[in-house]
């Protein structure tokens, strides 16, 4: 059933590409139908597989001469992320309802991207996973460079090149693993059981991990993320932050850590307190958390604030992975889901609800616009999304952060400090943006009030309300009943840890 999410998305992309031009409404509704259908399948698959171990969906030989199989399978982690992708896809379509320029092409690239993402989360063959991973990269370039805004060609090219450098590293790892294993298979499970020599894992692990982590926005390879997010059209930045960065984190977990667990072992010597790749990546993750948050604090462009907050939150995911304990890694996966929903929501508010009406994202300009009065929906939506993202209990962000905090405390109490700093600064930059953008306290002059009356903003449309409700409700539901997700994530992490990360 879950496999059909992939096929449905690609079929949707094909249909949209073949659609005659100039039928924007048809293209929109078709995209919504395909996205909702994929979401329905994802939900059904999630419910059917809740608490189940890994289930193989399809397994047919693809390239027999090289032992490559077309294996789709799902365990708890996959199901959670497929669910996230389904939600983000629907919300993205809703928030791109106002795309009038080459609408059918937009949704064709959009659905192709979604199909690739579904594919990555469901592949259990390294080669297949890589194929889907690359399929997901190309549409991003076109989405940003054609429909984007600020410095779109620069942002798109930067993102594409960063992604491809990352995937080249992964490809080298794939080739090396295939040649070294000698097992004549690229199945993730077969490779994990191939018993790679520790010395091999020691250099292949960082290669593949960094390759994926570039897409996860790990400091210092994060610079594509803010520029890419800012340049992208709303739906693309929602997907970029919402699911594409999760591709990277998922690859780190499933491939790098799953295939080369001994790469995390201590080196046997230590240099200024760093004694393993685990320490290295944990430190990079911590720098990412604090650095992203601090940079977000001083941005003048609203979207850059959210872009850097994404870097900070993805640092939390990577740190969670590096704890190597049940609760920390569960928290990392939970944070992937939570950040996917909330970053999508924040980008939607900034990019669609605010920017499309005010045509500026400069906080200084927004300050004088009295948006809390003129766009009350946007203001309150941002309050909800902001508090959820900074980790207010009751929303998904809180559960995720709490778990990562506990996990990192168990791993190394010092690590927790960075998370603490990150959370405090997160409160600061969220309130700062909120206050500047919506609740500016400049008293309007009579002239300004007249101008406001003359130029009323377009009213909020139903797709925006629907998209907001979908994402906010999900975050709230998951925050109030975290078991929905934990029941799926925990057994999967447990199996991975018990099998030496396999």
């Amino acid at each position: 059933m879950l496999a059909w999410t992939i096929y449905l998305s690609f079929a949707g992309a094909l249909v949209e590409a073949l659609l005659p031009k100039g039928r924007a409404a048809v293209a929109r509704w078709l995209a919504l139908v395909f996205a909702v259908a994929a979401l329905a399948l994802a939900v059904a698959g999630f419910i059917a597989g809740w608490g189940q171990p890994r289930q193989v969906i399809v397994d047919v030989p693809w390239v027999p001469s090289m032992g490559i199989h077309y294996i789709l399978a799902a365990d708890g982690i996959s199901r959670v992320l497929v669910l996230l992708t389904g939600l983000a896809a629907v919300a993205g379509v809703l928030f791109s309802w106002n795309i009038e320029h080459r609408t059918n092409e937009f949704f064709a690239f959009y659905l192709a991207l979604i199909g690739g993402v579904f594919g990555v989360f469901l592949s259990f063959d390294f080669f297949l996973l890589f194929v889907f991973y690359e399929i997901a990269i190309v549409p991003k370039y076109f989405l940003i460079s054609i429909w984007g805004s600020t410095r779109r060609e620069y942002g798109a090219m930067k993102l594409a090149l960063y992604s491809f450098v990352g995937s080249a590293m992964v490809l080298i790892g794939l080739l090396a693993a295939y040649a070294t294993s000698g097992s004549h298979s690229t199945g993730l499970i077969q490779l994990a059981q191939a018993g790679f020599p520790v010395s091999f894992q020691m250099w292949c692990f960082p290669l593949v991990f960094v390759g994926f982590a570039i897409l996860a926005g790990m400091w210092p390879f994060h610079t594509w993320a803010p520029t890419g997010h800012v340049a992208a059209p709303t739906a693309a930045s929602m997907l970029l932050a919402g699911v594409v960065m999760k591709l990277g984190a998922y690859g780190c977990l499933r491939v790098a850590m799953g295939l080369f667990p001994h790469g995390l072992d201590p080196w046997g010597f230590s240099f200024i307190g760093i004694g393993s790749w685990r320490d290295v990546f944990a430190i990079l993750a911590m720098i990412g958390i604090v650095y992203g948050a601090l940079v977000a604090l001083v941005q003048s462009d609203f979207k850059f604030v959210i872009g850097y907050s994404s870097v900070s939150h993805m640092g939390l995911v990577l740190l969670g992975l590096m704890t190597l304990n049940q609760i920390g890694m569960t928290g990392a996966v939970f944070q992937m889901f939570s950040h996917g929903i909330l970053a999508g929501l924040l980008f939607a508010i900034v990019g669609r609800i605010v920017y499309e009406r005010t045509h500026t994202r400069q906080l200084a300009d927004l300050e004088g616009m009295h948006l809390s009065r003129r766009l009350p929906f946007a203001a309150w939506a941002f309050v909800v999304a902001g508090v959820a993202s900074m980790g207010l209990p009751g929303f998904s962000g809180f559960v995720a952060e709490l778990q990562v905090i506990i996990g990192s405390w168990q791993a190394d109490p010092w690590w927790t400090i960075s998370i603490g700093v990150g959370i405090v600064v997160a409160v600061a930059y969220t309130w700062r943006a909120l206050q500047k953008a919506f609740f500016g306290d400049l008293t309007p002059t009579a002239h300004a009030l007249e101008a406001e009356q003359a130029h009323k903003f377009d009213p909020i449309t139903w797709p925006e309300v629907a998209g907001f409700s979908l994402l906010a409700a999900t975050s709230l539901a998951v925050g109030l009943f975290p078991r929905i997700l934990l029941g799926a994530i925990e057994p999967a992490i447990h199996t991975m840890l018990a099998g030496g990360l396999r």
Partner: protein, 512 residues
């Protein structure tokens, strides 16, 4: 000498030669007064028919060959069958692209020369003897010089042809010089016998001379595949030659030349095949299972140097091109680098040969398509500059989609065939040799593939992203469109199901 056998082995070549004569006669004797369109259509159809008959007469069987006096002259079946089939198909596709071209009034001659050159290509992909190699190469090369110069009204065409001819003549001289050393050292013109002679005295004692000979030969063949530093002709020729000629040079000639390199490499590695092996030599073989002294090691080293230089220069120079034809030329140099890497680590078994064949054949197919697109755009806009592609998606969405598929395939993006070809080739290299050097080289090649995406995206960006300066529709001849769609579909389908072509190629090696 068994002439019946020789006739059987060279039947496809014979068919092409006859076809070229038929084309000449029909065009010059019967169609003198006819309109150019009719003449083009008849000539290219006759040419395609010749290719089809040639295909039909081919021997699809495991490796065998035609021998004279105990030494192999021409190989048949095996890699030769794959390459010859590819040459015939690619030639036919190139001929179909000729429809509605107006660069020359001498259509019959153009098609005839192309068919003769293709026959030369068939010959070198089978050749196992220095003389046959040289004759085949010259047959191919002379044809290519003429094809390049065929647009008589274009100055660039003449310039390209004269450059190509001078370089070609010089490299042929080098090649012949190298051959003469080999013959002098080994007393034979047969590749296997030369390889055998190279490991025993007196030839083994004269290793410096052997190395000189190998370097000379590498210079000659490096010219054919446009490997750095023998690549200088490629950008000019790709830019100046009439489009069907350029497509032919970029695909058929490349495929044939790589087949020749496979043939040489196989002969060097399989030096004891077909010899009545006494027990002593069997023991010798088991001591040196895959690589041993003689020609194998220095030949690999030379190919490696060419490979690395080609990858570097091809990819980096392509970054700054503003003419799409030159861009494709430099990218062809880069692709030659990847293939040479595979050739340098040729396996004793068929593993790497299969991978190289897969790469070469699919690369040839993609390039023909790419040149067809460039040709259409060039004819509509009068230029092959990057700017000519602005707004292509509005001017002809189908053409833009084909361009997208082909260029992404060249860049190695899954699920298109270029990705699988690269993956397969690099995996083969690593399976043959697992040392640090091959690994570093594969890593370099993969890194350069990432670089190559940048320049392919430069073209696609203009076709899809940047605003159009002109929005008038570009018309494509239905036949051209059909060829383009077939090529794009092939690139997509073979990429999604790599086993199709892989299995077919594998079938020729199953017996080994």
């Amino acid at each position: 000498m068994n002439y019946a056998e020789l006739f059987r082995a060279t039947l496809p070549e014979t068919v092409l030669e006859i076809a070229s004569l038929v084309v000449l006669v029909v065009d010059l004797a019967f169609l003198r007064e006819a309109a150019l369109k009719v003449r083009v259509a008849v000539a290219s159809l006759l040419g395609v028919a010749g290719c089809a008959i040639g295909f039909w007469t081919m021997q699809f069987e495991p490796a065998g060959g035609f021998s004279y006096g105990g030494s192999l002259l021409l190989s048949t079946g095996g890699y030769t069958a794959v390459v010859q089939a590819a040459i015939l198909v690619l030639t036919a596709l190139t001929l179909l692209l000729l429809v509605d071209s107006t660069f020359t009034r001498h259509v019959g001659e153009f098609v005839a020369v192309m068919l003769m050159a293709a026959a030369g290509g068939l010959l070198i992909s089978a050749a196992q003897d220095l003389i046959v190699i040289f004759i085949g190469l010259e047959l191919l090369s002379l044809g290519l010089y003429i094809l390049t110069a065929f647009a008589k009204k274009s100055g660039r065409s003449a310039e390209a042809a004269i450059k190509y001819y001078l370089f070609g003549g010089m490299s042929a001289a080098f090649l012949l010089f190298g051959f003469s050393y080999l013959y002098g050292l080994s007393g034979s013109t047969n590749l296997q016998q030369i390889a055998r002679a190279a490991i025993v005295p007196p030839a083994a004692g004269a290793t410096p001379l052997l190395y000189v000979a190998l370097v000379m030969i590498a210079a000659g063949l490096g010219f054919k595949v446009a490997a750095v530093p023998f690549h200088l002709w490629a950008p000019d020729t790709y830019e100046g030659a009439p489009a069907p000629g350029a497509a032919f040079i970029a695909s058929v000639s490349k495929v044939a030349s790589f087949a020749l390199l496979i043939g040489i490499g196989t002969a060097i590695l399989h030096l004891f095949d077909g010899v009545h092996v006494v027990r002593v030599t069997t023991g010798f073989l088991t001591m040196f299972p895959s690589r041993y002294s003689g020609l194998a090691a220095p030949w690999s080293l030379i190919l490696l140097i060419l490979a690395v230089a080609s990858m570097f220069l091809g990819n980096l120079a392509a970054l700054v091109q503003t003419s799409v034809r030159r861009l494709v030329a430099y990218s062809a140099i880069a692709h030659a680098g990847y293939i040479l890497l595979g050739l340098a680590y040729l396996s004793y078994g068929p593993r790497s040969t299969e991978a190289i064949l897969y790469y070469v054949v699919t690369y040839g197919l993609t390039t023909v398509g790419a040149f067809a697109v460039v040709d259409v755009v060039e004819r509509a806009t009068g230029s092959d500059r990057l700017e000519a592609f602005l707004g292509l998606h509005k001017r002809n969405p189908l053409l833009a989609a084909v361009l997208l598929v082909l260029f992404l395939s060249l860049a190695g993006i899954p699920p298109l065939v270029g990705f699988w070809a690269k993956f397969n080739l690099f995996a083969a290299v690593l399976q043959v040799s697992r040392g640090a050097v091959p690994f570093a080289l594969v890593a370099l090649a993969v890194a350069f593939s990432a670089v190559s995406l940048y320049y392919y995206l430069q073209v696609l960006k203009r076709a899809y992203v940047m605003p159009a300066v002109e929005e008038s529709r570009i018309r494509v001849h239905p036949v051209t469109l059909l060829v383009l769609l077939a090529v794009a579909a092939g690139v997509l389908v073979l990429g999604c199901f790599p086993g199709l072509l892989g299995g077919w190629i594998n079938g020729f090696f199953a017996a080994i």
